[in-house]
């Protein structure tokens, strides 16, 4: 009875957005494209203000940006890559901020759409990271050494290599970018649909007076999930960034 009152929108309505400009061309700009542009602009504006204030004791925007930069620099770059990874700090900082702001639009009122819930965002990012770590490996170890180190585990007897080499190729060059993209995409898509589900149920309860008794339950769940999704947004950005750092660091040094 109650479920009949719930009008769940078709899933394509909450994921596939109509283009706003350049419709029909490959440059069709829709809500997801706008969110990625917004993530870029917000990050640059934050850094602009943080760099312009330059106070000895940071506060506000400067404090936020500096603590994030410090966190990425110490907990991701230096911890995972060591001192030789420091030149990669801007790249990884950009990656973290971009993913975080693409994610956080999931809970921003009236936008409520994580750009990373569309495969169009995590997949290119994972591809960029994939190209980056292969390029770094080739540049620092040479083509032959890099691919040999990456796919031939040392100290393994010959016959076993027949089994391990395909596995290493699969693991290092196919599963890594795939897992990077799918992890981010899946988490954010699930979060988006969860929030949507509880929002739709809360709305239905509110509209149908019969549901008023149990209205607080889905609404409380919606509130709790909103908080949880903020956490997930930061966590997934962190995971994507730290794994990228790990892959690049591995490519920089001779494996094993």
């Amino acid at each position: 009875m109650l479920l009949a009152g719930i009008n769940f929108p078709p899933i394509s309505d909450v994921l596939n957005w109509r283009s706003i400009v350049f419709g029909g061309t490959p440059f069709a700009l829709n809500k997801v494209g706008l969110i990625t542009l917004a993530a870029t602009v917000i990050t640059l504006v934050l850094f602009f203000f943080a760099g312009r204030q330059a106070k000895l004791v940071p506060s506000g925007v400067q404090n936020f940006v500096e603590s994030m930069v410090d966190f990425i620099h110490n907990s991701i770059v230096v911890d995972v890559m060591g001192p030789e990874g420091v030149p990669w700090a801007p790249y990884l900082t950009g990656l973290f901020f971009f993913i975080f702001f693409c994610n956080i639009f999931e809970v921003i009122p009236f936008i409520q759409m994580p750009a990373t819930a569309r495969m169009s965002v995590p997949a290119p990012l994972a591809l960029i990271v994939w190209i980056t770590f292969i390029a770094v490996g080739v540049k620092s170890q040479g083509v032959g050494h890099y691919f040999k180190n990456a796919i031939v585990p040392p100290g393994v007897p010959g016959p076993l290599l027949l089994l391990l080499v395909p596995l290493e190729i699969l693991s290092n060059f196919i599963v890594r970018p795939f897992a990077l993209a799918v992890r981010l995409f899946g988490n954010l898509l699930a979060g988006h649909l969860l929030l949507l589900t509880f929002a739709v149920i809360s709305e239905a309860m509110f509209v149908k007076s019969v549901g008023l008794v149990v209205l607080p339950l889905p609404f409380a769940m919606l509130t709790a999930l909103t908080g949880y999704e903020i956490f997930v947004s930061a966590l997934q950005a962190f995971i994507f960034t730290i794994l990228s750092a790990l892959y690049i660091a591995e490519a920089m040094k001779a494996a094993h």
Partner: protein, 178 residues
């Protein structure tokens, strides 16, 4: 949730674009956005923030070093002052002891000198007294002799030769003096 699955199934079966598959426009804009972000962040936005943080860390490290040096300097100065104070105390005690000894020696000298002077004065006085007494005794002897002679003259009413009776007078005075 079942509604959601039904909705998803309905969406995919109705022939609309698959919600999982990426759209070309979105891919292009996301690569473009991320590319712009990386270039501008790396060239222009990240270095000032990082430099400022490094400068601040250097400044704090420098300030801490300077504070440590200042503290060590202050400690050294304090030790010097303490040493100087202790030395001054030792000097003062020494000077005081010397002064006390000098004063004691001076007092003893003065006392001895005063005692000597007093003894001299006493001796001189006694000498003077003795001379005076002898003089007085001699005068008295002469006076008494004269008086006795006069008295005798008056008594016997006779003129007696002074020179002749001198022996008598002397024996008389000796009797009186004894």
């Amino acid at each position: 949730m079942s509604t959601l699955i039904f909705a998803a199934a309905a969406a995919s079966s109705s022939g609309s674009s698959n919600p999982i598959l990426p759209a070309t426009g979105e891919i292009i804009w996301s690569i473009l956005s991320f590319g712009i972000l990386l270039v501008l962040l790396g060239k222009w936005a990240y270095p000032p923030v990082r430099k400022m943080m490094a400068d601040r860390a250097d400044k704090i490290r420098g300030d801490l070093d300077a504070a440590d040096m200042a503290k060590a300097e202050a400690q050294r100065t304090l030790e010097e002052y303490k040493e100087q104070l202790a030395q001054a105390r030792r000097d003062a005690t020494h000077i005081l002891d010397e002064a006390r000894q000098t004063a004691e020696a001076l007092r003893a000298d003065l006392l001895a000198k005063a005692e000597e002077d007093a003894a001299n004065v006493r001796v001189r006085n006694e000498e003077a007294l003795r001379i005076e007494r002898q003089r007085v005794i001699a005068e008295l002897r002469s006076e008494v002799g004269s008086l006795a002679l006069e008295l005798a003259e008056k008594i016997i009413d006779a003129e007696v030769d002074r020179a002749a009776s001198q022996a008598l007078i002397d024996s008389f005075i000796s009797e009186i003096g004894s």
